[in-house]
Subunit: 335 residues, 2 copies
Amino acid sequence: VVTEKQVWEKLQSIPLPGTPRDIVAMNYVRQVNIDPEIMVTLAATGLLADEQKRLQQKVVASIETLNGAAPVHINFVEVKPLELNSIDSIVATMSGKGGVGKSLVAALAAVSLRREGFSVGILDADIAGPSIPRMFGATAHPVGSGTGILPVFSRLGIEIMSMNLLLSQENEAVIWRGPLVSRAINQFWEDVVWGRLDYLIIDMPPGTTDAALTVMQSLPVSGVIMVTTPQNLTAMMVKKAVSMVRKMNIPLLGLIENMSYYRDPETGQPISIFGPSRGEALARETEVPFAGRLSLDPELARQADNGGIEDFKSEDEAAFHHKLLQILPEQTSQI
Amino acid sequence: VVTEKQVWEKLQSIPLPGTPRDIVAMNYVRQVNIDPEIMVTLAATGLLADEQKRLQQKVVASIETLNGAAPVHINFVEVKPLELNSIDSIVATMSGKGGVGKSLVAALAAVSLRREGFSVGILDADIAGPSIPRMFGATAHPVGSGTGILPVFSRLGIEIMSMNLLLSQENEAVIWRGPLVSRAINQFWEDVVWGRLDYLIIDMPPGTTDAALTVMQSLPVSGVIMVTTPQNLTAMMVKKAVSMVRKMNIPLLGLIENMSYYRDPETGQPISIFGPSRGEALARETEVPFAGRLSLDPELARQADNGGIEDFKSEDEAAFHHKLLQILPEQTSQI
């Protein structure tokens, strides 16, 4: 006779239509009964009618390969996307100032965690200036139905949702007032099926206004990684952002200094293009753990620009990876 | 007997309290009558009672030095700040992406025009991430009364209004929803006495949302200078911003590529840290006049960080100055 465990194992081999992840990882399996007959309840969220039909056929066929399987029944239920999501840690990258590398740090963190075997998503909360899709070379449009949207997947299987994926042309301007921007961010949280994730990385927009407020008020953010550069100007903005995060009672996990130096390709000497490194001093002053430096690396800039962020490796990147695992909230559910 | 012209000349030597500019340049002289007695009508806007009194004494004393001056009467009238302003050109620096050097270009443009003898102001519309005061080393609080606010003046006499000048601590976060940000920008326009200016430079916040909309809808912007970097990512955001500006029917004056290259201090060779220069191609593609390149200059970064932007000179800066005068709307009222 067939056990419930056997059914679940079969279900784990069936990808959710339009995604590389299985229906168990995406939390689409809502219930499994084996007695007297096999009954599997699946979420219909975000699936078109013909996708539901094909999924049903696949599930039935798969379970029927089990020896002694009773007749298999599939039942679809409408579930809100938010109820399908179970996310262990939500980590936001933030800075206060634009152009310091928040998105880069978000992307590197996601890649780093993915390489470590974690399930990872990126919610690009920079509605007006979304950078994430380009770094990953993600150009697909998210699929879904009226009941939910499925994220786009990177080559390594990182889930991505970004305003730029929804625009018909990536050059289109999003000319929106704050309330609309906030609504978009809320939708990326409430209407997107992220499924089970170890980490959801949120790429925050610059500044300490609407979008930042919305993220911190509406999403259960576990912690913030602050990004700075050697410039005093950035340090000032970072202090603003730190004071905001503290007011919201969200833990500050670490401070990373990006564009820290440029390594002369001839001599190997570091050159302080934006002035001497101040990251460690700023970390002490703001009482945020210092989480290391990233240099101005032309190869990193090239890969980020050409969708190859997942292929990038460097000494800096390795050090960042190592440090990241120390500062992030621990996970129990490693794949 | 005293002529009206003589009185105006005297008035041109009297500074508006709290500023280095005279009351004529600030448009505070509303009317001059010389017959039968000398009567000068002054705006009281933004002046406290004792400032009005001292100003009155100064004006009377100055006019009385004229030979054959009749008794002098001073009359104060309340005038809205907006009515005191006469600004020939309002030029906004914009990018769509943060951290590409909008504020730097705004500051360099203001300094450049000021050195040329123009009267210049900078309205820092980046409410949440104001960079302008630090570049100029401006730390004074704007003065004023309930009827109007006077800008802060840089060492070269550039008028500056920025959110950071209004905060009790520059590290304070401005955690505001969009409508408040828009209101602040409108106040910088409606409640600040800019007086007569040849150019008001507006440092736009990143993105194409609230603040950008507010500036373009509420202020009579004469044109936009777009700032890019060699990164594809920036080019994408610039295209978004260009499409927004076109939708608002505002002229695009020029496209400047910042962080274009880094000049190796040993060999003098340019190094393309952020990838090969794409500014000219982007200018062609977006049909915006190309307005040259600025390199990653550690000395410029240092001066911008330490309040010394007005002391900075370089080859790049000279080329920018030259180009700027070509692309800006022409002025007739050079001082």
